[in-house]
């Protein structure tokens, strides 16, 4: 598991990493020179007691001053040149990676930040192929993805370091960026703008797959939730539909259609629970439903009282929503 900008797997992140290497080498060299020159001046220091009476130097000779002036002027000139160069490469790379317009033919995904999870919506001209999900973004490798960012409450920031720099999600003001994965893989992302109590637990995953697998995933996700396969799951669905769960969550294909919390239609297929807080296992899910405030203090997920006998069917049902 990594969330590192060095582990670049997308075109933009790779460009930024290359720029970082150039900056890094150059700046470390300059730092070394400046510190070296500073320490080297110590060879002229007074080596005796601090209270010794010192000669009245006060002014270097005219020749020395002239040499120093030249040296400082040259150093300043070099600084200006280096900074000018760095500015030019920064702006040219910035033109690509910070562009708000994605290349033509991009797949548009709308990301809406909420305290403390991510609402994901795949845009499509065909209304029947608009997909809504949460906390996990699947993308096809090699295709540019336009991210349209928005927020339902406070400012968040969308960031997948392996693929692209960050973009703030601002309520009432859409923001745009684009990214592209060059290799299949699972890339962790996290909210980067402080957004309240559980800012620390607002992660998500971007899963890049070859186009055919992505299309298969998409087709499957567009299907309504699977009918329960066994009696246990059927009971679980009843528990879900009768409990307060339906006040916030949607499961397409059932009567649950609320849009306040994450869409659970294919919940069982996701890697994590509660925006990257827990691995998606039955045990973790039971703990999360029983006492969300213990796992993610301050979360807006309500503590819904579920009878102990009903918990297992409910868990089985939700995990069966693959």
């Amino acid at each position: 598991m990594t969330q590192s900008m060095w582990h670049a797997s997308g075109s933009n992140a790779t460009l930024i990493r290359e720029l970082a290497v150039i900056f890094g080498i150059l700046l470390i060299a300059i730092f070394g020179i400046v510190v070296g020159l500073t320490l080297f001046s110590l060879r002229r220091r007074h080596r005796s007691l601090p209270q010794e009476t010192l000669e009245r130097l006060h002014q270097a000779s005219a020749g020395t001053e002239a040499k120093l002036r030249t040296a400082v002027a040259i150093a300043t000139g070099i600084t200006v040149l280096i900074l000018f160069g760095l500015t030019v490469v920064s702006i040219s790379v910035g033109k690509i990676v910070s562009a708000s317009m994605a290349p033509a033919g991009s797949l548009t995904i709308e990301v809406t930040g909420a305290q403390w999870w991510w609402k994901i919506r795949y845009a499509n001209d065909d209304p029947s192929r608009i997909l809504q999900t949460a906390n996990e973004i699947h993308i096809p490798v090699g295709q540019s993805i336009a991210i349209r960012g928005n927020s339902g409450d406070v400012i968040h920031s969308f960031w997948v370091p392996s693929l692209q720099g960050k973009r703030d999600l601002i309520p009432g003001q859409p923001t745009y960026e684009w990214l592209q994965a060059d290799r299949p893989g699972e890339y962790r992302g996290q909210c980067a703008e402080f957004c309240g109590l559980q800012h620390a637990h607002m992660a998500f995953w971007v899963i890049a797959e070859p186009a055919d697998r992505f299309n298969a995933w998409m087709d499957h996700q567009l299907e309504p939730a699977m009918e329960p396969a066994d009696e246990q799951s059927r009971r679980g669905r009843e528990v879900f539909l009768k409990a307060a769960c339906v006040l916030c969550h949607a499961i397409r294909g059932t009567g649950a259609g609320a849009q306040i919390g994450p869409d659970l239609t294919h919940f069982g297929s996701r890697k994590t629970i509660a925006a990257g807080t827990l691995v998606n296992t039955k045990g973790n899910l039971a703990g999360w439903i029983a006492d969300p405030q213990n796992i993610k203090p301050g979360t807006h997920m309500a503590t819904v009282p579920i009878q102990p006998a009903e918990m297992q069917p409910l868990i089985d049902y939700l995990e069966s929503l693959r």
Partner: protein, 631 residues
């Protein structure tokens, strides 16, 4: 000790002078004091207490982050602690401590008896103290801000931050801004109009230049934060206005622009005085006039100007038009030029002087090491593509601690050791001083260097915890251990200061053979600073042979007379009478404070503030002293 330390002849009745310029005895005298040394000392001591509080909060954070999924602090508590830490360090420590150094040193350095507007000076201190007490008083009653020191709406708005914590934060800024503006106005006038005769603009000590530029920056920057925190945020929260609340049609990015229009210059407000301190320490300790005085002055002014043109690099991730991104990338890079020139001039000074290595010089070397590294990461953050990755990660946390601790705190500690004999009349212990330096230096780098790495590995800022398995665990543990080394260094520094103040060797007026006028005054200086105001004939006033120096005579000693000189050449212009000590600044500050503090609870308190403040001002300006001005 040397010819330079010999005082010129005294043509003054020192008893009368002392009587005229002393504060009244007792508690009443303490409360009514308007002496710049006393008020400067109060600023410095109060700010150090806030430094300890902010440091304590930092330790709490480091303990929480020492290992993944730690439960030492809850999420809510952690958010409160990091908000208080940032707020305390920026508003209650860093700016006020620099103001304090300026208030204490500037009148001594320009050769006058007090700051201009001494009652305003007292008022400013009381407002600062009240603001600090107000914030921590509210925190004590569980009204703790938790939206960060920057308090971005809508998170800080009425919907997402109910309760009084953010109101307390916003109103505390009002207190400290009033205080900072008071000091800025005093120092500008002191430096421009109260210099000793002969101290033309090209002879002003570097530290005074830095305070002058800093004061002008305060005058332009602080109103911006008042607009952000009070007009926008506090009014949205308490009066239901719609400036920055998107739920009501407001624009949250407007807040960010105005806040950072203040917030970026704020950094230079903190660290320009530190650059002045470095120049002072180096000039004295290398035994030569600082190299490139005009270049240094112009760089300071350049820093001050450019600082107002790069605030948007705090907002690169909000998605600006690309022409704007290019502009702010370029201006952010430009600030490295003016900062670079200063470093080069100091290097030239070091290379052509004969350095005497004291604790103060240790801190200057530590400053160069840390600050230059912070500058390098600053260049990286100026670059829009790199910033999009590094923004709001621990890389930024590392960067600004390098520039603020390295750029401001190390010079401040160097300055503290350098001027300690002047402040207290005692020498500070060199051995303990060096020990504390090395602990602070090592501890600082152990704490903050790993944070660069953490940021590049994806660790975001302001997280109360993190999941294991991301490769962040060891660097976090190292940072926490480093924080405790800093604590040890800090404790030794405090112990050294307290011990040396009580039993250090007696200091002479000029123990370092300094070049600037403060070393001619006593250690500690008499309430009137100088028996006779000095006349200045060179940039390094005290290095001029005594035979070539002269003094000002003719100022009355039986009342608080000072000499006003003209701006460019500091030719004597007229004499002016300063006010006597008074309780009214304290009472006025008290009235305003009650009103400002109450107004976050009910509008009614605005009226209380107005009435009490008006009564205070009437008392303050009641004409009871001769106001004549002699040509």
């Amino acid at each position: 000790m040397t010819p330079a330390a010999t005082e010129p002849h005294v043509y003054a009745d020192l008893d009368v002078l002392r009587q005229t310029w002393s504060s009244k005895p007792g508690l009443f005298g303490w409360l009514s004091s308007i002496n710049h040394q006393e008020i400067g000392r109060r600023y410095i001591l109060t700010a150090f207490i806030f430094l300890l509080l902010g440091g304590f909060e930092a330790l709490l954070m480091r303990l929480q982050l020492a290992k993944p999924e730690n439960t030492f602090l809850s999420a809510g508590r952690y958010n409160q602690v990091f908000t208080l830490h940032g707020t305390t360090m920026m508003f209650l420590f860093a700016v006020p401590v620099m103001e304090g150094m300026g208030i204490y040193l500037v009148p001594l350095m320009v050769g006058t008896r007090n700051v201009a507007f001494p009652r305003l000076n007292a008022f400013g201190y009381w407002m600062y103290l009240a603001g600090g007490l107000f914030l921590y008083g509210c925190a004590f009653f569980n009204m703790v801000p938790d939206a960060g020191w920057f308090s971005y709406p809508p998170l800080s708005g009425p919907q997402f931050s109910p309760g009084k914590g953010v109101d307390a934060w916003a109103q505390m800024i009002t207190f400290t801004e009033i205080s900072a503006l008071c000091v800025a106005v005093e120092l500008v006038v002191t430096i421009l109009r109260m210099r000793a005769p002969g101290m033309s603009l090209n002879r002003i000590p570097m530290f005074c230049w830095s305070m002058l530029v800093q004061s002008f920056m305060i005058i332009f920057a602080m109103p911006a934060v008042m607009i952000a925190s009070t007009v926008f945020l506090l009014n949205d929260r308490t009066l239901g206005t719609h400036f920055v609340n998107p739920a009501e049609g407001g624009n949250p990015l407007l807040y960010q622009h105005v806040f950072w229009f203040f917030g970026h210059p704020e950094v230079y407000i903190i660290f320009l005085p530190a650059l002045g301190m470095v120049s002072s320490i180096l000039e004295t300790h290398t035994r030569r006039q600082i190299f490139g005085y005009p270049a240094l002055v112009l760089s300071l002014v350049g820093n001050g100007l450019i600082a107002f043109g790069l605030w948007v690099h705090h907002m690169f991730a909000t998605g600006l038009p690309q022409i704007g991104e290019a502009y702010f990338t370029a201006t952010s890079m430009m600030i490295a030029i003016t900062s670079g020139v200063q470093i080069f001039c100091w290097l030239a000074t070091l290379w052509s002087g004969r350095l005497r290595v004291t604790t103060a010089v240790h801190f200057v070397f530590g400053f160069i090491f840390i600050f230059v590294m912070g500058g390098m990461t600053g260049v990286m953050l100026a670059s829009i593509p790199l910033d999009l990755q590094a923004h709001d990660t621990f890389f930024v946390v590392a960067h600004f601690h390098y520039v603020l601790i390295g750029g401001a705190l190390f010079p401040l500690f160097g300055g503290f050791h350098y001027w300690f004999p002047k402040f207290t009349g005692r020498m500070i212990d060199e051995r303990l001083g060096r020990l504390s330096f090395w602990l602070l230096f090592v501890g600082f780098n152990a704490t903050f260097f790993p944070m660069h790495w953490l940021g590049m590995l994806g660790m975001t800022r302001r997280v109360y915890t993190y999941v294991p398995g991301l490769g962040w665990d060891r660097a976090n543990m190292a940072a926490t251990i480093g924080a405790f080394i800093i604590l040890l260094g800090g404790l030794i520094f405090i112990a050294n200061a307290l011990r040396s103040r009580g039993s250090g060797a007696r200091a002479e007026n000029d123990p370092w053979e300094g070049s600037t006028l403060e070393w001619e005054a006593g250690s500690p200086p008499a309430p009137y600073n100088f028996p006779n105001l000095p006349v200045v004939t060179s940039r390094t006033a005290l290095w001029t042979p005594v035979a070539e120096r002269s003094i000002v005579v003719g100022l009355r000693e039986d009342r608080r007379e000072i000499l006003i000189s003209n701006v460019l050449d500091a030719e004597p212009h007229h004499r002016s009478v300063q006010p006597r000590p008074s309780l009214w600044p304290l009472l006025t500050a008290f009235g305003f404070s009650i009103g400002l503090a109450g107004s976050i609870f009910a509008f009614f308190w605005y009226y209380v503030a107005s009435v009490l403040g008006m009564i205070g001002l009437i008392g303050w300006f009641w004409p009871n002293r001769p106001l004549e001005v002699d040509p």
